[in-house]
Amino acid sequence: MTAIRFEHVSKTYNNAEEASVVDVSLEVEKGSFVVLLGPSGCGKTTLLKMVNRLHEPTAGTIYMDNVDIREMLLTDLRRQIGYVIQQVGLFPHMTVARNISVVPELLGWEQPRIDARIDELLALIGMAPENFRDRYPAQLSGGQQQRIGLARALAADPKLMLMDEPFGAIDAINRETLQDEMISLQQKLHKTILFVTHDVDEALKLADKIVIMREGSVVQYASPCDILMAPANDFVANLMNSDDRIRQLSMLLAETVMEPLPEEKVWQNAPTLDSKADLRMALSVLLRPGIEGAVVVNQLERVGWLSMKALQAAGCNMEATT
């Protein structure tokens, strides 16, 4: 089912000579995680902000659940959409709890329901409610602030999430953690998410599908794997660094290329590797001196064997295996 549909959407800012978004038509499936990727100035943020009408298109129409978004009351539309931005924008004069309760309050929820929701969300993002409810944003770290930003956007269980480089201002280590949390959140919540980034690795890690944009137009719209394997043109190939085999390896999981476990003397001293680990990580394990292969384990059970040879074969036959 289509959650969001862009139909020939264009946008030219006042006083601008060139259009920021040029004739974009896209369909976003319900429950899919779609990343808008491209260099700065490619129109990805403009496209995103037209969905909650912070910007209005100069041509074309955007539909949410098959309703033209211009036919909805602006405030109603926005209350159905969770919005997360890079600068977070928490309300500094409100506690964590009150920040999260903004949209439920606007929607007129009863106080007990709001309180329960606050605790539920804080638990979901891994922040103990009793410790954080009554803190002010200034008393939180950058990563914690963005978690609250995320909780605020999720508060009223929106149909759609718009995320504008949400982890862009966060240090590399915390960014990885937040990305991992985002993945596990999405596995639980199955939201339709539009996510803007210029970070290729972030896009590959998070996206079900990637929209690659350049100079206001969509260059390619496909799954991460398809984009890596079959870039639409040189621009995409360069952007994605498609020749980078290592990056391609990160698209494959150990369990998809493992072989049956050989006799015990071969693997008894070998390192182990989780079945869900990607081949990039497998490579780093196998590159250690004196290692012939790794035992692939799934929840403490030995399920297979991954040798350097199999890894090389996988790298060469990417198209065949994916």
């Binding site: 912070l54 926005r78 931005i85 924008g89 903004v102």
Partner: protein, 207 residues
């Protein structure tokens, strides 16, 4: 001192008149300045000219401003109150604008994103965040108003200025001293009170 001890009721009455005159002027002035400041915040091009005109009023000596208003409002309290309102606008409006400008644009964008209406953003987000700066302006304006209110006695507005002018006419140093000290104490008290309020508001959430 002797005068105060022998006429505590009269002095208290003048004191209350003085507070009332300053208070009512500031109340009306801030009720004009906040919407005007908001208006100029969204109509940026008008901010310069409007602040320029208000600044011009500020340069007119207060006595002259009151006299200019007498043909319109008469020789009474009203002329003094109107003069105080006009006189303080530039300080108040400039601080309302500065308070609104000082808000992180990301906070406003986030507020729009949550689906607040413009009124809800103004009331729930912009106003509380701009309040410390607005209060700082109100504090400065109030001190001016308390000082200028003393001149108001000359125009039938009553207040502590009456002690000063009576003292001058009767060459009574004690009345002059008493009036001056009370005006100063009032200004200092209001200053301290509003400053404490500002700190209480920001102290809760600022780093």
């Amino acid at each position: 001192m002797k005068f105060l001890l022998s006429n505590p009721g009269d002095v208290l009455e003048l004191f209350v008149q003085h507070v009332g005159l300053s208070f009512i002027s500031m109340l009306i002035a801030i009720l004009i300045a906040i919407p005007l400041g908001y208006f100029l915040y969204y109509r940026r091009k008008l901010a310069g000219p409007v602040l320029g005109v208000l600044g011009m009023f500020y340069t007119i000596p207060s006595i002259a401003l009151i006299i200019m208003l007498i043909p319109f409002f008469g020789l009474n309290r009203t002329s003094v109150i109107v003069a105080l309102i006009i006189y303080c606008q530039v300080i108040l409006v400039r601080n309302v604008l500065a308070g609104l400008d000082g808000i992180d644009p990301a906070v406003i964008e986030a507020a729009q994103g949550t689906g607040m209406s413009r009124w809800q953003i103004a009331w729930r987000v912009q106003m509380p965040l701009a309040l410390p700066v607005i209060l700082a302006g109100l504090r400065i304006a109030s001190i001016s108003a308390i000082a200028i209110s003393a001149v108001g006695a000359k125009f039938g507005a009553g207040g502590l200025g009456k002690l000063l002018f009576d003292g001058i006419n009767q060459t009574r140093m004690d009345k002059i001293a008493l009036g001056a000290v009370l005006v100063a104490m009032l200004a200092l008290g209001v200053n301290a009170g509003l400053r404490a309020l500002e700190e209480r508001i920001t102290g809760r959430w600022a780093t």
